[in-house]
């Protein structure tokens, strides 16, 4: 009988020590883990919209407004995605108030890019990405469709997905831009449906 009770007690003691140790490790690392997550997003945001010094999240993990040091809104950063060859391609786009794209960032494999290494993955190369820098909506198209983008050889689907994703993102979010250059500044966007006030009036 002694061994039977010892069985339960020994298991209990081991569990108790393990639980105590883990709760300690959890509280110590928790702050750092949160900080890493925030830092990661902030770094990407200022990478695609370099003039902005601070960002405010308006739609959770999708849309951020960028502000300069005088707290004037100078542009937006949004996350968009389009079906590529092997899965959706997540793209982060920085758009200035003048509706010109500043920079774009395409997620790495660790962040959810599923394209074929060596083929579709070339959409992450600078030579392809640079084609989008400082371009306007109407220029974001393949050359054969009247735009300025050259698709990557043997990766047409991935290249097209980037173009379509960016176009769809601009169409959806440009009403959040603030500035004299666009006429849609008075529209209020409904964060749940993405519909604008004018949609409700219809």
């Amino acid at each position: 009988m002694k061994s039977l009770s010892w069985m339960a007690i020994s298991l209990f003691i081991v569990c108790l020590i393990a639980a105590g140790l883990l709760s300690r490790v959890y509280t110590v690392t928790k702050i750092q883990i949160e900080k890493q997550k925030q830092d990661g997003i902030q770094k990407q945001l200022s990478q695609v919209l370099p003039e902005a010094v601070s960002f405010r999240e308006t739609i959770d993990d999708t849309l951020w407004l960028g502000f300069d040091k005088d707290n004037q809104q100078i542009g937006i950063v949004f996350r968009t995605a389009w079906q590529g060859y092997a899965g959706p391609i997540p793209i982060l786009v920085g758009l200035g108030n003048d509706t010109v794209i500043r920079k774009i960032y395409i997620a790495s494999a660790a962040e959810g890019l599923k394209e074929t290494p060596g083929l579709g993955f070339k959409i992450r190369e600078t030579s392809f990405l640079e084609q989008f820098y400082n371009k306007m909506y109407k220029e974001i198209q393949l050359v054969k469709d009247g735009g300025t983008i050259h698709a990557i050889t043997a990766s047409t689907i991935s290249s097209n997905a980037v173009i379509n994703g960016i176009r769809a993102g601009i169409e959806r979010f440009q009403s959040n831009l603030d500035g004299d250059t666009n006429s849609v500044q008075d529209l209020q966007i409904d964060t749940t449906t993405g519909a604008t006030e004018s949609d409700y009036e219809k």
């Binding site: 061994s3 010892w6 069985m7 020994s10 298991l11 081991v14 569990c15 393990a18 140790l21 883990l22 490790v25 959890y26 690392t29 750092q32 883990i33 890493q36 997550k37 990661g40 494999a109 660790a110 962040e111 074929t116 290494p117 060596g118």
Partner: protein, 207 residues
Amino acid sequence: MRNKKSKRLQYLFNGIILENPILILMIGLCPALATSTTAKDAFGMSVATSFVLICSNIVVSLIRKFVPESVRIPIFIIIISTFVTIVDYTMQAYVPTLYRVLGVFVPLIVVNCMILGRAEAFAYQHNIFDSFLDGLGKAVGFTLVLVIMSIIREYFSTGEIFGFVIGPRFIISQPMLFMIFPPGAFLLIGLLKAFINKFIIKPEPTD
């Protein structure tokens, strides 16, 4: 005395070639196949696994006299999963990029049969120092194979090693893409096993 010393050296060095966990004992194959796509990831994975293996060997050996035989397996699992969770949190906090690449394979160290296998087969019967040596030897063996595999796979599929471009241009322009996919891993581990059987482990005459 001398005999004891040589035995200890044997515990340490057995894990590297003669009892190499992956190529000879054929345990812990899953992470070896899955995380050896680039040398950096493989090295990170090896460090995490080695830490858990050595710590669990020490703790199991430390408490082996108090652990009733009938509940030893649950106790081993609790010890191993505690260390894995510590590694998991620590990696998430201090090396988030590596953590995101390794993803689910960090928590899966819990079910790496190499670790439970050493706890059960070695640490439960040996003293702390011997268990530490055994864990260290197996960890070095595991790390070596993972890093060798990943260097070969990364090189042939991208022309890079640890992210640095090395070697002739034709590998970079026409890489052997399949090496980065699972079939490449299976093929390579088979070739390594064949190599070790042919040249390193000489077949011993049976007594």
